[in-house]
Amino acid sequence: MKVWKYDDNINTDMLFPGKYVYTCSTPEEIKPHLLEDLDPPFAKNVREGDIILAGKNFGCGSSREQPVVGLKTVGIVAVVAESFARIFYRSSINQGLLLIECPDVVKAYSKGDNVTLDIEHGKIIVGEKSFFFPKLPEEILSIRDAGGLLPYTRAKLKKK
């Protein structure tokens, strides 16, 4: 598992350039342009199970959901950041992408450290140190557990 480390204020244009927003919508169309202007080798080299570590305000900017859909598609298991922008945060719940707000983890990490994620116990191990992150509220967990907002909505409509 590889850790991809980025700075503060990684915005949606860096994650997925605006010029493709109205021509690329499917996961396959999104994939090659993911992080194109931030880290060009990312799209080619990212592997299922990799993790992103970032500073403050990750995902700020546009409401475009291609960054979230893309990161989920390539198999990013979690984005751990000091903080997230709100539309990106909401969008990740809707797509079932795990976001962990935990500044201590980001600060503790040095290049080359092993990072292990234990989602069930809400625990991240960085090198020798363990960190715990809080569970999401019940209402939100139910969306994630359903596999994202659309499966959740479909189930809700069927019940009615």
């Binding site: 605006g18 010029k19 919508s25 922008a85 709100r86 539309i87 659309l150």
Partner: protein, 421 residues
Amino acid sequence: MDMTFAEKILAKYSGEKEVVPAQIVTVKPDHLLTHDNTAPIIQKIKPELTEYGVYNKSLPIIVLDHVIPAASEKTANNHKIIREFVKNHKIEHFFDVGYGVCHQIVVEKGLALPGELLLGSDSHTCSYGAVGAFSSGIDRTEAAALMLTGETWLKVPNSIKITLEGKLQPSVTAKDVVLHIIGDISASGANYCSVEFHGNIEQFSVEERFTIANMGVEMGAKNAFFPVDNITTKYLKSIGISTSQYTAIYPDEDASYSKELKYNLSDITPVVALPHSVDNVKKVIEVEGLDIQQCLIGTCTNGRLSDFKIAAQILKGKKVHPNVRLLILPSSRQVYLDALKEGIIDTLIESGGILLPPGCGPCLGAHQGVLAPKERCLSTANRNFKGRMGCKDAEIYLASPATVAVSAVHGKITDPRKEVH
């Protein structure tokens, strides 16, 4: 318990007597805004739309604005898919190519009223706080779900109270105020928060409040809000909305804010946001003299009549510098028409301006005015992210219409308080 604006409106829409920050509530918004992204949104829920239909025909507001007129077969087809959807589902509020930028249309057509709640699959949906509405951005998937169910969850935000004291100096505008605040509190300074503007707000027209609320998301805010006053009611009357058509919501006097900030407007000078972050704000005088190749006056941030009036006053009888392309982007057809009637468009074109159709145009880098590597653009838009105008090796600087107009004449970044010669 005294409540903030966000607490009061979310209590009202969730049917609760009172709510507190971090509480999660279910709300039914008055409207759901989508634009060119309507095509991918409805494609996500094709079978469900056939089976259940749209929740309510008057819920969606659909505006084609982001890539207009279509720039490719693909974007043309997107528009076509949306038109067919609108027809098949008898969507009531549809604005085809040419009406203008969605946020301007929502306010101009009286679709966002004081005390109403709107959500939209565009980050600048926060603009409608200019007329006392609660409005916030969501993603495409959530817009798809809302299209079917008419409801979603919202977390009650903390609220920040920003009090604007004193009076603006000449040549300093609402854009300078909001850039100054973002520079001060940073691009994440209001993350997850509802931002309320109080104090001497009577000096700001609804158009100027729009500029400030529009950039709420650039400080991370969930929504931005100006309390309704005579200026709001007068504006609404001018677009045919009477006070009996809405119930304004005001924060309570002893509401509790997570942060209270005060700014003396007379201390603010013309400012510019440097690449590649909106909070990288400096005084214009600190960066004066940087050469520019493109200028953009317009967008949903600064594309209204008062903005073009300022630009025309500066550009009257002058010529745009030969090294500069000046793009003019009205935020709506109505603005375009009003500016035509007042002779403003004549002035801008005579000076060398290039008029674009009312829409989002070059702001998002999809077409119209894409930059080349190493070029520098001075723009009145709301974002200067790397690659935003289609080229990752170009630079975008953000400023007021006054600063952009003066700079266009000089061919370099120039303080608008200086005479144009």
